[in-house]
Each structure stands twice: as structure tokens, then as C-alpha cells.
């Protein structure tokens, strides 16, 4: 598991389009935007549906599960918050329940709880919530949750 992340060194500023998303993470819900007119889902929560252009929008509560689509291993910290965390893995997670008939899908990022050795593209992952050292901020983290066939690992 990577070292601690000092969230006091990041000021997250929710805005008109995102404040409900950040409130939901405090209730351990992983939301994506959903169009009330056509049902399309997307993330980050841009303020209009790029399928039908409706701005009558709601939220879809995902199961918080997905498949690791790609990842990076950060060995050199850029932000003060992550100085103690390196090396850490950022995963790109393809959410299980956001696939649509036209091929549309949703992928989101997040810091893995797993070490590099345990991570591979194609593995299933699930969300966990981390209360940060900022009382008001809960962040989703991701953890390998099982095994799969045809996984791929960067071995260099």
C-alpha cells in the first residue's frame, strides 16, 4: 500500500457542476452524471448531455466496480500532498455499469490501494472511501477485487 497522502496540501474546490458529486462521496456513493431525457451517462460531470444536449440532468449511483483499463506508477512526486505516497499507482477504471448500447462507456481515475506488484490491466477493481485529514473531504480509492484471464502487466 502506498504511503499516506496529505490532503491538507490540496484545496479541492467543488463548483456548481460538481458539488453534489463531492457530497455523495461523503456518503460513500460513487456517482456519474445521467441525462434525465435520454439516459446517457458520463463523467466528469459536464453540464450538458453530449448525446441529446439536454441540461435536465440527474445522477446515477454506480456500483463502484470496474475493470482496470490502464495505470501509471508515479515514482517522482509532483504535488506536496504525494511526497510520502510514492511510489503509488493511479488506475484508470472502466466502470461496470455505465456501458451503453452505442458503445459509450465511462472511465474514471483514482489512486489504487494496491502496490504496483499486485496491479494488472484487466483485473476487477472496486471502490473504497478514504476519510482524508480534511474533515470535509472523502476521496474514493480503488482496490483490486479479484482475478481475471488475459491480464497484462508492465514488466520493465
Amino acid at each position: 500500500m502506498p504511503g499516506p497522502i496529505d490532503y491538507s496540501k490540496i484545496t479541492i474546490t467543488p463548483d456548481f457542476d460538481t458539488v453534489e458529486w463531492w457530497m455523495a462521496t461523503k456518503e460513500h456513493k460513487y456517482l456519474v452524471r445521467q441525462c434525465k431525457d435520454c439516459g446517457h451517462k458520463w463523467f466528469p460531470p459536464f453540464p450538458a448531455c453530449n448525446t441529446c444536449n439536454s441540461m435536465d440532468l440527474g445522477w446515477f449511483e454506480t456500483a463502484g466496480t470496474g475493470v482496470l483499463h490502464s495505470y501509471i506508477v508515479v515514482t517522482q512526486p509532483i504535488l506536496g500532498a504525494f511526497v510520502e505516497a510514492v511510489p503509488y499507482v493511479v488506475g484508470l477504471i472502466e466502470l461496470d455499469d455505465c456501458h451503453e448500447a452505442d458503445g459509450s462507456l465511462v472511465r474514471v481515475g483514482g489512486v489504487m490501494l494496491d502496490d504496483e506488484e499486485d496491479v494488472a490491466i484487466g483485473l476487477p477493481v472496486s471502490v473504497e472511501y478514504e476519510q482524508t485529514n480534511e474533515a470535509n473531504i472523502v476521496v474514493p480509492r480503488w482496490k483490486i477485487s479479484g482475478t481475471a484471464e488475459n491480464t497484462w502487466k508492465f514488466n520493465e
Partner: protein
């Protein structure tokens, strides 16, 4: 062919030395770069009546340069942007000149990219104020996913997985561009490197190593564009603008990561427009500048702009294909990996010098177009430089480009 193909020319180029640090203002550096480009073209301040630039909130603006150098401009606009801007502004400039907004136009970038605002992020040493995570950054920065290396690394990793490419192909690009830098007296990093040097360099963010990442330097660089009728009377052989694209987007441009293939980059959507407007094919291109913020950005753009097939770039670059005297010499100045970092202007400048047959190398007669083609003696001139493609990169989902030709093409 485009309606304006070959009608406008790049007639002057200039830049300050790449420094780390410059100990100068971006205004001071920009004045020097513009003066050098005017001298290169044989133009006076009174001849310049248009100016445009791009920046990241880190630079001076056109009105300050005009005031400093005694110009009165008929058109000036400074935009925000990074690595996809140079060729996009060339496009803007053609339109403005054609419409009569001005007659002769400067394009510049001036940045203390090492000592001022660093694109890769500031080193987190000592007390630093909390970093503000707003807008899209709310969904990247809190996961420690911020710098260009970290962002593009995600797409690079998936590319390696999908195509079976290894980082030895990335090394080929680092080696080729460094070899060219070794022939460029202006380059910051001039000692040649090997594939093993690349493989042994430290990780920055897997799958990218130190030698996959560009330099950060303090520099200003400048181009001057005018009509071909004016160009004929100026000091240098004109370099004609055949065609281009400006910040062409892939779908879902503000969130690359939910696209079916995160490494199917924006150049794929600009390719036909670029070559259609220029009226040529990839086979007609003698040299390229292929934006090398990272080795991976060069690699993936070779596919995007059709120099090789999809998924084939890893094989394509092997055997030194991107090196001078080989099939498709790339970034003859050494590029951002090895010459220095200008957010793209320096790559276009190098192509202009190559197409004039006046690469500023170790050949005593380079300024008159006399070259030995002896690489051991430091000659950097591509022998048959007639047509150059400039392939700019902003992100996976945004790219600009231009095709230039010299008078012999």
C-alpha cells in the same frame, strides 16, 4: 489543395539561447527573439503590423513588445495554450493576412519554462501553499494525476499493452533526437546517448523514464509570416506554407479517458485535412518535426498522421529510421527532448532553416547554404530537404499541424 496553399511564407525566425535559468523577463527575451527574426528576414519594426502569441499565464504580451521595439500594430492577440499552438497560430495568421487585417505578422512564445512556471509541476520541496484542484482537475489532482507525464503516461501504458510495443521503441526516438542535438550548437543536451542509456535512466512515471521526458528551459522563439509577394524581396529563401490544421480535436476532447481507444489521438482527425490542403502525401515529406514533449507523443503521432499504420509505430521507428540520412528524419534540432523547450516554435524554426538549406550547424558556410553533409564534422543539414511536416501536440485529444516547403520543392 487549399485556396491559400503557398500564398503565405515564413520569412524570419529567431530565438534566444536556451537557458536554465535565463535571469531575464519574458519581455526581454521576446524582444531579443523578435529582433533576431526581423534581422533574419531583413525587416524593420515599421514593417511589422501584426503580432500574436500563446502562453499559460506565464508570459508577456504583444503590446509590451510593440512598445519596447517601437512598433504600432494593426492586429494583436495573445491566446492561452501550450504545445498545440504554433501551427494553429500559423493558420490564424494566414487568415488575418488574407483578410487584410495586417500585412506582416510575428508569432512568438516567451517562457521561463524552467525558472518560472514549470509545465511538469513545481518541485514539492519546502513549504508550499495547497494546490487548488478546480474544474477538470478536481477529478485528477486529488488522485495525484496531474503532470503531462502522468496524464500521457496513462495512454502510453495502454498503447504498450494493446500493440505489444516495448519501451525500446521509445528509446529509438530519444536516441534519434539526441543525435540531432549533437549536431546543433544551440542544443542544451549534446552528448549522444544509446538505447541502453535510455533503458537505464530512472523512472519518472512508469512507463516513462527520464530520457522519455523533454527538457524545461527558459527561452523565447519567434516566426514572421507574410505574403509570398513580400517574401520574394526579403533576405532569406522563402518557405511556403502549404497547409495545416489548428487544434483539431478528437471527440470527448475534455476527457480523453472515456473514449474507446485512449491512444487514438487527435492527429487522426486532422490528417486528411492537412495532406488534402497541402496537396501531397506522406511519401512526399522529407523531414518532420513531431512534437516530443515525450518520446511517446512523437511515436503516437507517426500513426496519427499516417506515416505508418495503426499500432505499427513501435516497429517503424526501429533501426534509426527517424535519424538524419535515414527515411524520415525527425526533430533535426534535437527537439524538446534535447535542444530545449519552447512549446513547439523551435521545431517549426528548425524546419524553416532546413528548407532554406541553412541549418545553423558547424559548417562554415551554412549561412550561404553551403553544407558538407559530413555528420562527423557536425553538419546537420538534411541533403534533400524540400517538404517538412510540423506535427504539433497539445494532448491526446488536441493537435495542430502544418506542411512547409522550400523553393526547390
Amino acid at each position: 489543395m487549399g485556396a491559400l496553399t503557398d500564398k503565405y511564407c515564413i520569412v524570419g525566425v529567431g530565438e534566444t539561447p536556451h537557458m536554465r535559468p535565463s535571469n531575464r523577463t519574458t519581455l526581454s527575451m521576446a524582444c531579443e527573439a523578435v529582433k533576431k527574426a526581423m534581422a533574419d528576414a531583413g525587416l524593420e519594426p515599421r514593417d511589422i503590423d501584426g503580432m500574436t502569441s500563446y502562453q499559460a499565464g506565464d508570459s508577456t504580451t504583444s503590446n509590451h513588445i510593440a512598445t519596447s521595439l517601437g512598433m504600432r500594430l494593426n492586429y494583436s492577440v495573445d491566446i492561452l495554450g501550450g504545445g498545440s499552438s504554433t501551427e494553429a497560430l500559423i493558420g490564424n495568421t494566414i487568415g488575418l493576412l488574407e483578410a487584410g487585417y495586417c500585412k506582416t505578422m510575428v508569432i512568438f512564445r516567451s517562457m521561463n519554462g524552467r525558472s518560472g512556471r514549470r509545465m511538469g509541476g513545481q518541485a514539492p520541496s519546502g513549504p508550499v501553499p495547497p494546490t487548488r484542484a478546480a474544474e477538470d482537475n478536481q477529478f485528477m489532482m486529488p488522485w495525484g494525476w496531474t503532470s503531462p507525464a502522468q496524464r500521457f503516461g496513462m495512454s502510453a501504458m495502454r498503447y504498450l499493452r494493446d500493440t505489444g510495443t516495448t519501451t525500446r521503441s521509445l528509446a529509438e526516438i530519444a536516441v534519434a533526437h539526441r543525435y540531432h542535438a549533437s549536431l546543433n550548437p544551440k542544443a542544451v543536451m549534446r552528448h549522444p546517448i544509446t538505447i541502453e542509456d535510455h533503458q537505464n535512466s530512472r523512472w519518472v512515471v512508469k512507463p516513462l523514464r527520464l530520457l522519455d521526458c523533454c527538457l524545461e528551459t527558459d527561452v523565447s522563439a519567434c516566426l514572421i509570416v507574410t505574403s509570398r509577394e513580400r517574401a520574394y524581396d526579403l533576405r532569406q529563401p522563402p518557405v511556403f506554407i502549404m497547409g495545416g490544421t489548428g487544434r483539431t480535436m478528437a471527440p470527448n476532447a475534455a476527457w480523453n479517458y472515456s473514449r474507446p481507444e485512449i491512444h487514438y489521438v487527435a492527429g487522426n482527425y486532422g490528417r486528411k485535412r492537412l495532406f488534402g490542403m497541402a496537396g501531397i502525401s506522406q511519401k512526399d515529406v522529407n523531414l518532420i518535426s513531431c512534437y516530443d514533449a515525450f518520446t511517446f507523443t512523437t511515436l503516437i503521432q507517426l500513426e496519427a498522421y499516417g506515416f505508418c499504420g495503426k499500432g505499427e509505430a513501435g516497429e517503424f521507428v526501429k533501426g534509426g529510421r527517424l535519424q538524419i540520412d535515414h527515411e524520415l528524419p525527425s526533430n533535426l534540432s534535437g527537439g524538446h527532448l534535447s535542444e530545449g523547450y519552447t512549446h513547439g516554435v523551435s521545431m517549426v524554426i528548425e524546419n524553416v532553416r532546413q528548407l532554406r538549406h541553412r541549418a545553423d550547424d558547424a559548417c562554415p558556410g551554412w549561412a550561404e547554404g553551403k553544407h558538407s553533409y559530413d555528420r562527423q564534422a557536425g553538419c546537420r543539414q538534411v541533403k534533400d530537404a524540400r517538404i517538412a511536416a510540423c506535427l504539433g501536440w497539445g494532448t491526446e485529444t488536441m493537435s495542430s499541424s502544418a506542411i512547409l516547403r522550400g523553393i526547390s520543392a
